[in-house]
């Protein structure tokens, strides 16, 4: 986008105005005299702004119509395959204060020539997610915490998610940050492949992540490089495997009741 630089100059009142109005003004500014635009820009009224697009990745597929297999269904619907697609990356403007944060972050990254640290930005259901390249995570987190315009001084912890079919990015770590100064909340998402489950530790930046990273290691096998003492925290020290991974079975035994036998939850007929 050509209007990246304007984001820094947004003042506090800016976020209160509707997004469409700002789009219009930006469009006007771009087409204005002396801006060096040779051909007239297409009309950018709210109705004409294209829908947000971005590369979508399928992280899995759902087979059959009802998620049930082995039922002798002869209708043909059992052959349906639908991809599991998460919300696509958003295009600017993101709306509200999202643009202020994204703009400030981008400007700082440009100053340090780390422009590719943010892989994509997803705005979905009123929450903003920054997908961060894993080697740049400590730098981005440090900046988010310390920069005056960002000030995300509070970290709510890290949560792992395992996407076994998201090839090359199977393990995700999700950080929720809060700026108490500005009363804002953002999310960082970092990925690591199963073959190399390493992430840089953020304990030196957010000491609260000590136990949270241990829990994520315990449950997913994500290794946080630089953590002061990365050991299991919930499971026993000698436990084999990492229970929250999708390839780790839930376990359980059939329960017999009044002559019937009920299989454990992960072996019951399900509709997912």
């Amino acid at each position: 986008m050509s209007d990246d630089t304007t984001d820094d100059k947004t003042d506090a009142n800016e976020s209160a105005r509707p997004v469409e109005e700002r789009n219009l003004e930006k469009a006007k500014a771009e087409t204005g005299a002396g801006s060096g635009v040779a051909q007239p820009a297409p009309e950018q009224s709210p109705e004409n702004v294209p829908a947000p697009t971005g590369e979508v990745r399928a992280v899995g597929a759902r087979h059959g119509m009802f998620g049930v297999s082995g039922t002798g269904d002869t209708s043909g619907y059992g052959g349906l395959v639908s991809a599991t697609v998460f919300p696509a990356p958003s295009q600017k403007p993101y709306g509200g204060w999202f643009d202020e944060v994204a703009g400030a972050l981008e400007a700082r990254l440009e100053a340090t020539e780390l422009t590719s640290a943010i892989e994509s930005v997803v705005v979905h259901r009123g929450e903003i997610t920054f997908h961060v390249r894993r080697e740049d995570l400590p730098f981005v987190a440090q900046m988010l915490r310390d920069d005056e315009a960002l000030r995300f001084e509070f970290c709510s912890g890290v949560s792992g998610v395992h996407y076994p079919e998201d090839t090359g990015r199977e393990l995700h770590a999700v950080y929720h940050l809060t700026s108490m100064t500005h009363n804002r909340r953002i999310r960082l998402e970092v990925t690591a492949p199963d073959s190399d489950p390493h992430l840089p530790s953020l304990v030196s930046i957010y000491p609260t992540l000590d136990w949270h990273e241990r829990e994520t290691y315990d449950m997913f096998g994500l290794i946080f490089d630089g953590h002061p003492a990365l050991t299991r925290v919930l499971m026993p020290d000698d436990w084999p495997g990492h229970p929250q991974r999708k390839d780790y079975p839930l376990g359980g035994i059939p329960v017999e009741y009044k002559g019937g036998s009920i299989p454990p939850p992960d072996q019951r007929r399900s509709y997912n």
Partner: protein
């Protein structure tokens, strides 16, 4: 007691020195054996079964005389894999699991999970007003019962047994209200995606008003018993000190953060469930110690009573209003009713699906067995639980079950401050410091 009786670690098994197993009533022999060695450094393993550790919390303390030089927590003794189990149940059934995590504040567990699911479903604005008011009502009653337990167990741990007995006495009154409204004292699974499970039963508002009136008489008793009590103050003041910078770094929220004087309360700063419509004050203290946290809890109960009164007032004007979203693809198809054999699906509903409408039967079957689908995405909607920021990171892949549900439990995070709060202090103050954090191990270990 002899060292040979210890089957876990014989003296030769450890490089750190001799091992003693203390079982009580054997202090003389212990002091005799220790007295022979010149080394003052003792590592004490306290818990996980110990009445003063607030549940199955294990503390590993390194002592020099009576001074704690290092304090570490061992947790995980109550890990039940609730998050993993939720991935194998429908979205509605998930409520039944997460309500059991932090067993002293079940409604908050349910609320944060349900708010996340509702955000993913994009029905946040469709949840009926009455459901939101009932959620607030139950959460605030729950805050009172949880703070009562915090004060009661905290008092018990320093030997103030009267505080415990009266605390549990009042808590039982709140649990009676829960039983009246939800059918259960604990583990309610009452807040559901789209609203709440049931309408208020007849007479509930009167019971709530009676309770508020009674609590207004009883709460001053706590203040009279504790606030200026010299022993109480002597044990609590200046103990477990943690300033604002420490709270921010270690991610502490709730009464511990507010005891530093910072009025951060998600009900005010990032309102949910319509908290912006209620009149209440955020309680702070400026001493950053255990005494301040005790006073904050006491004051917060007053504020909760204020909110409960406002809820009761609003609910009186909402009689007969819906408590579940209108969308029949999400709302549970039947209301429950009391029959001759206990609570079950209402007879009207049974008659409808079994005798009148094949479509209604199919709909009921589909929604109950398969459940509804939640669009792919992730959400995090934290709530202010009695212990601080409680949030559920809810991830959906578009299926009928949570793809991942992770709970950021405040007890888990706050417990990390144990070392900072107790190192350098006396061993007896460790108990006070931990009691002031008020960790609930069900939430810590999940």
């Amino acid at each position: 007691m002899t060292t040979e009786q210890d089957f876990y670690a014989a003296p030769g098994d450890t490089s750190q020195g001799r091992v003693f197993t203390v079982t009580g009533q054997d202090w003389d022999s212990i002091t005799q054996s220790i007295g022979e060695s010149a080394d003052e450094r003792v590592v004490v393993n306290m818990g996980p079964q110990h009445p003063s550790t607030h549940g199955v919390l294990r503390l590993i303390l390194e002592l020099e005389g009576e001074t704690v030089t290092e304090a570490r927590c061992g947790i995980g003794y109550l890990h039940t894999g609730i998050e993993k189990n939720m991935e194998f149940r429908s979205w509605v059934q998930g409520v039944t699991f997460c309500t059991r995590m932090d067993y002293l504040s079940p409604f908050f567990n349910e609320a944060t999970y349900v708010l996340g699911v509702e955000r993913l479903l994009d029905i946040e604005d469709d949840v009926p007003e009455k459901a939101q008011v009932m959620r607030v009502l139950l959460m605030e009653l729950n805050r009172i019962s949880s703070h009562l337990v915090a004060i009661a167990t905290g008092g018990m741990e320093i030997g103030a047994l009267t505080v415990m007995t009266i605390g549990f006495r009042e808590r039982e009154l709140v649990l009676d209200l829960f039983e009246l409204i939800t059918g259960l004292r604990m583990n309610h699974a009452f807040i559901r995606p789209g609203g709440v499970a049931q309408d208020l039963p007849p007479g509930a508002l009167d019971e709530i008003r009676d309770f508020v009136a009674l609590m207004k008489k009883r709460l001053p008793e706590y203040a009279a018993l504790c606030n200026a009590n010299p022993i109480f103050k002597g044990r609590l003041e200046g103990v477990g000190h943690l300033d604002l910078a420490g709270c921010m770094a270690l991610g502490l929220t709730g009464p511990v953060l507010r005891s530093t004087g910072y009025a951060w309360d998600l009900r005010k700063t990032q309102p949910y469930c319509g908290y912006e419509d209620y009149d209440f004050e955020v309680q702070t203290w400026d001493t950053a110690d255990s005494y301040g946290r005790f006073r904050i809890r006491l004051n917060e109960m007053w504020e909760s009573l204020k909110i409960v009164e406002q809820c009761a007032e609003r609910l009186a004007g909402l009689e007969g209003a819906p408590v579940m979203v209108a969308d029949k693809k999400i709302a549970w198809p039947s209301q429950l009713a009391i029959g001759s054999d206990g609570m079950g699906n209402s007879l009207d509903h049974i008659r409808h699906i079994m005798g009148e409408s094949m479509e209604a039967l199919i709909h009921h079957f589909k929604l109950v067995t398969e459940g509804f689908r939640v669009p792919a995405g992730q959400a995090y909607v934290p709530v202010e639980s009695p212990r601080g920021e409680l949030g559920a990171h809810v991830v959906s892949d578009g299926g009928t079950r949570p793809f991942r549900a992770h709970f950021r439990d405040p007890s888990f995070t706050n417990l990390q401050a144990t070392s900072v709060m107790s190192e350098g202090g006396m061993v007896a103050d460790v108990i006070v410091a931990i009691a002031s954090i008020d960790p609930v191990m069900g939430g810590v270990d999940r």
